[in-house]
Amino acid sequence: MGLEAKLTQDGFITTTIDAVVAWARKSSVWPMPMGISCCAIEMIAAADPKYDIARFGSEVMRFTPRQCDLMIVAGTVTYKMAQVVRRIYDQMPDPKWVIAMGACTSTGGMYRSYSVVQGIDQFLPVDVYTAGCPPRPENLLNALMTIQEKIGKTRSRDFQNRSLKELELSQN
């Protein structure tokens, strides 16, 4: 539509706060790259100039959970690692989203074994699952676009302050 044209004509636009906030949020989803095994390589590939995740405003991979909105769990999650993943997830500020990237995180994948969690949705609220072993970068970008769509539909009142009790729970 051309924001510049709009602004130079009238100098203002009318909209709702919710729409602006959702637009800003979905255009700058900062990922927490939880690259635990081989899938991480494709996640890195998604950030390179060929696939260029920057087109979607998500090039800022943050290695501190406190600056992230989106956790990309890319790799096999073992029972031992599950505690760590959950701990990092808990440190991310609300609102936050989760992509389960690849067969391993979605279902345990080919590791039908005693040590691997058979699907991270057993302890994390997953928003988008991606198929593939590993998924191609396009697939990850598609997941990101799905998340953006989801964020675009949110309103501020979806993210009420969480009750103190819940926060205490998640700190343990």
Binding site: R86, R112, S115
Partner: protein, 164 residues
């Protein structure tokens, strides 16, 4: 004399009453020693001037499930002098299975033995720090034993409760 002959000769000369079996399958020389002789045997291999097996490359085990001597501990030692890797085995009779640690001879065996303890539940006596190395500390089972189900025992490994 090629390294294989040299090693066999030296070992036979010193340890022949304690060698249960010698095999040479596809150029892999292997001695099965009596389990109580493992430390002197390792020491000999390492310290003998002609052999010098300085490096322990691996320690693992085999679970034979139905045999009377159910577990076999397997060591791999390497000699840089001879450019040769030797396999050493020891069958375990005791229950629970146990054997003297070789970490006093080869320091690198310390973690390999922890792994073998974690996976097979074989006790290494006089080990400086026999803790689990892969599985979480409170875990009660030994996953590579034959009776352990592939998918694990439900509830034996805790997961964080589900976040909403």
């Amino acid at each position: 004399m090629n390294p294989k002959e040299l090693i066999t000769e030296k070992v036979k000369e010193k340890f022949s009453p304690f060698i249960e079996e010698t095999s040479d399958f596809r150029d892999d020389l292997c001695f099965t020693v009596k389990s109580e002789q493992i430390v002197p045997f390792a020491k000999f291999l390492k310290e003998d001037a002609d052999l010098q097996f300085l490096m322990c490359k691996d320690v693992t085990a085999v679970d034979w499930a139905t045999r009377k001597k159910r577990f076999t501990v397997v060591y791999h030692a390497h000699s840089f002098k001879l450019n040769f890797t030797l396999r050493i085995k020891a069958n375990l009779e005791s229950d629970p299975p146990s054997i003297e640690t070789v970490s006093s001879v080869w320091r690198s065996a310390e973690w390999y033995e922890r792994e073998t303890w974690d996976m097979y539940g074989i006790k290494f006596l006089n080990h400086p720090d026999l803790r689990r190395i892969y599985m979480p500390e409170g875990f009660e089972y030994h996953p590579l034993r034959k009776e352990f189900p592939v998918l694990g025992i439900p509830g034996s490994l805790p997961l964080p409760h589900k976040a909403e």
